[in-house]
Subunit: 214 residues, 2 copies
């Protein structure tokens, strides 16, 4: 009986934790990390504010976990495209296009992940995930160098450059301050084309003017 | 008499503020923003901790001001190279080489400015200064497009990509975790060459294999 009670309690704890994280992600997707207040989150999740602190050390730790979960999804989505069989240059173009399109479809969340000023705990996760993106690009660059599709020079540098270029190119267009200005779709196509051209040329792709699938 | 006393008091306040900022910059240059503790800083500057709070709202505001001052120097150093008369591709290569060399000569400070996880107030300044770097590159890209030296595509995107690529390429090599591994000078030359090649190719430079002055 005691065991059952404990197991039940653990299940319930896990369920509450998962609900808190879901609600937290929704808050960040709607209004960035600035909207992730402990009181508002407690209301959304239907728990007492004190209960939040039983599951997470504080706002920074919670924000870091929301960041990790959301970023992990992006890394996996990018990996799927970059690791699919095919011409490395086409894969790189398709990966960049997918990453940008996903960012555009959740602009507020994407801005929060890439650039929003946040607690240092989230900055730590940003560095970690930039390494994860870098490892994906490095693997593709290795493959492209072997096949002659790319002439990337020092791969660690080129992979880091790709990560930085892609992130930084999206900061301005995704910024909430800019969002009100114009049509997101037109801007997405323009930014994606410019970004793909920049990156393919940069790594010495044989086909730098590759057409990008919409 | 009252006026003189007030003027003297203001001068003294300015002098104390300047001394605090100098000491703060030295702390960050030695140990990153993590070393910028209010108590340690008060000791360095020879003032009471309470006096720090009379000059700065808090640790975040102080860190943001240290960041701005140090970054402003970097922006000016880069501007000097990029805006010098000459071939735009050579200017871009020289600007990148100068930026990297300056970072290498103050590695701990450069890492703190570019990547160290910090208070949100510093992240805000990071976004501002990335815009300032972007504006410098945009002006050079315009000039290079006009002269036929570059074929950069959408200039706002390419300028942002350069900022991101350069910053991200330096994060790994400057990281305190990596620093112990090898000879900084050898790595600087390798990283600089790879970075310049990446960037010149990316903006469609006529001379992507430009030799870089050491």
């Amino acid at each position: 009986m005691a065991y059952r009670t404990t197991a039940h309690r653990l299940d319930r704890d896990q369920a509450v934790r998962a609900r808190i994280l879901d609600c937290a992600l929704q808050r960040v997707a709607a209004g960035g990390f600035a909207a992730l207040t402990m009181q508002g989150l407690a209301e959304d999740a239907g728990v007492a504010t004190g209960s939040l602190y039983r599951h997470f050390e504080g706002k920074g730790a919670l924000a870091a976990e929301v960041f990790s979960r959301a970023s992990q999804r992006e890394v996996e989505a990018l990996a799927q495209v970059l690791q699919a069989p095919g011409d490395p240059a086409a894969s790189l173009a398709a990966g960049i296009a997918r990453f940008a399109a996903r960012a555009w479809s959740s602009r507020r969340l994407a801005y929060a992940l890439i650039a929003e000023p946040v607690e240092p705990e989230v900055d730590v996760q940003r560095l970690r995930y930039r390494d994860a993106y870098g490892a994906l690009f490095a693997a593709l660059l290795e493959e492209g160098r072997a096949s002659g599709a790319f002439a990337p020079g020092a791969i660690a540098v080129a992979a880091a450059c790709l990560v930085g270029a892609i992130a930084e190119a999206l900061v301005g267009p995704l910024s909430p301050a800019v969002r009100r200005d114009g049509s997101p779709n037109a801007a997405l196509a323009e930014v994606t084309t410019a970004l793909v051209t920049f990156c393919l040329r940069a790594v010495g792709a044989r086909t730098p003017d590759l057409e990008i699938a919409p």
